[in-house]
Amino acid sequence: MKNKIHIVFLSVSLTICVNVVFAQRDSVAKAIVLAQDQNIAAEVRVKKALEIIDNSITHAQSVKDPFAWYVRGYIYKEWYKTFEPQNKKSKTRLEAMVFLKKALELDTSHGKSFSVTSNFHYSGQIATVTLDFDPKTIRQILKYLGATFYNDAGSLLDPDNYPAAIENYEKFKECMLIAEPNYNLKAREIEFKNALATVYEKIFRSDIKMQSQFFGMTENLYRQVLALDTNNWGANYNLAMLYYNYGVDLINNMNVTDDIVVVDNITDESTALFKKALPFALKANALKPDRREVLVCLMGIYFSLYEWDKSDEYKAKIALLDKEK
């Protein structure tokens, strides 16, 4: 009995405040009902829902309401999905992420879901709607957004767009870590860094003098991958090829009329690069002994180091492999 009185007292004291919140919640609920109304064309319902939620969020009560941010994030995600799925630099998608993050930050339910019932005029009737606030759903939406960021990062991986790819990849990480703070990024880190390194290498090789900074950037990325996984075949092979090709490039770009002192320095540098390439090529070969490209790489490295016997050994292995195929 004592408990009951206490609850009534609380209810009375909070009536005015709660009513205002509920009024705002009604428009929030209306926005989401509208956003999901299959009787209305997607373009129309998402636009209207976005207008309602944007208006609603300007009210002081909504600003602190996790539910309002949740719905806003959801509707922005729907906007992105409806109008901008091909826009790899979509501002709306970024905003969706920010709003969902805010919803989680404002949520005081400690990860528990709760329901909200709202009444409002909809299609000429009084609609009574029960909405679930479920942090798990928010995390799912964030993962969805994260996946779109990741896939877009991949499609932007080329010499012209790689900065946008990096931005998308960073947003992917942000989304995933908000959605799941213990999310294991290792596999994605390896995948993305390996791929980005090949872009950097392409830029470097387009002009090894003017784009020389990309050599170090490529090397750094492969070494980061190997720090995560020493047995990563791609990073081992690609790093070996990076060093080896650069060594050959230095010689090929040498002018036959270059002074002998310059030539001596170049051969010093290229020899050092061939020596650096060797352990990574050997590792790649140990990991996948039948990969022809690694055998070719080893043949080239030993040839460039003037170790003819070993170069011929790999040449024979390539011939044997070709014969077997």
């Binding site: 989401i32 009902v33 999901q36 959801y74 999905k81 909809y122 009084i126 609609a127 009574t128 709607v129 029960t130 679930d132 759903t137 799912q140 939406i141 993962k143 969805y144 996946a147 990741y150 896939n151 991949g154 991986l157 994605r188 995948e191 390996n194 791929a195 090949t198 791609g234 690609n238 090829m241 990076l242 080896y244 090709n245 050959v248 010689i251 090929n252 040498m254 002018n255 036959v256 009329t257 270059d258 002074d259 002998i260 002192v261 030539v263 001596d264 051969t267 010093d268 290229s270 020899t271 061939f274 020596k275 490209e293 070719v296 080239g300 040839f303 460039s304 180091l305 003037y306 170790e307």
Partner: protein, 178 residues
């Protein structure tokens, strides 16, 4: 109207197949290029007698080798002073005749060195070889590999006795052989 709203989420698969394979650079030409560049530099750091400073600057290659083609491609239209390079191919020591400023003897033809030395006696021809021990057997310069790097031995006596002078810069980069 009473409705229970469940926010539907479309799951999206992460897909990635982004890694591009690097293109292998053929090392064969690079070895030729290093040797050709060294040979070009020998013409700068070795001084021939006055009477050799007229006409074409002749570089002979003894033995059938791809190096002849590489050298021709790299030095055609280049010159040393007023002398234009002329690259000649010799099949054997007996075919070497006339003025030849530099004679490169391939490793496979090293056995012909003694005969070449007899035939070139009294001529200012720089003999360049590429086999271990040749600098001690009469060649002026012998290409060798040391610590996985292309280097060259220089036998100053074998050069200067044919009235050619070796600059100190060239000597400092060479492995001296007596």
């Amino acid at each position: 109207m009473r409705k229970y709203i469940i926010i539907a989420i479309t799951l999206l698969c992460i897909s990635a197949d982004w890694v591009r394979m690097p293109v292998f650079q053929d090392p064969n030409n690079s070895n030729s290029k290093i040797k050709a560049t060294f040979i070009y530099n020998f013409t700068k750091y070795i001084d021939w007698p006055e009477k050799y400073k007229e006409g074409n600057f002749v570089i002979g290659v003894l033995g059938t080798t791809a190096f002849y083609n590489d050298l021709t491609a790299l030095l055609t239209k280049k010159s040393v002073g007023k002398q234009t390079f002329e690259i000649k191919s010799y099949t054997g020591s007996e075919s070497v005749s006339g003025v030849c400023h530099i004679l490169f003897i391939t490793a496979e033809n090293s056995a012909q060195l003694p005969d070449v030395l007899k035939r070139m006696k009294g001529k200012s021809t720089l003999i360049v070889t590429e086999k271990t021990g040749m600098a001690k057997q009469g060649s002026g310069i012998n290409f060798v590999v040391e610590n996985n790097k292309q280097r060259f031995e220089l036998n100053k006596t074998n050069i200067e006795k044919y009235n050619m002078k070796v600059s100190s810069t060239l000597a400092s980069l060479a492995i001296a052989v007596e």
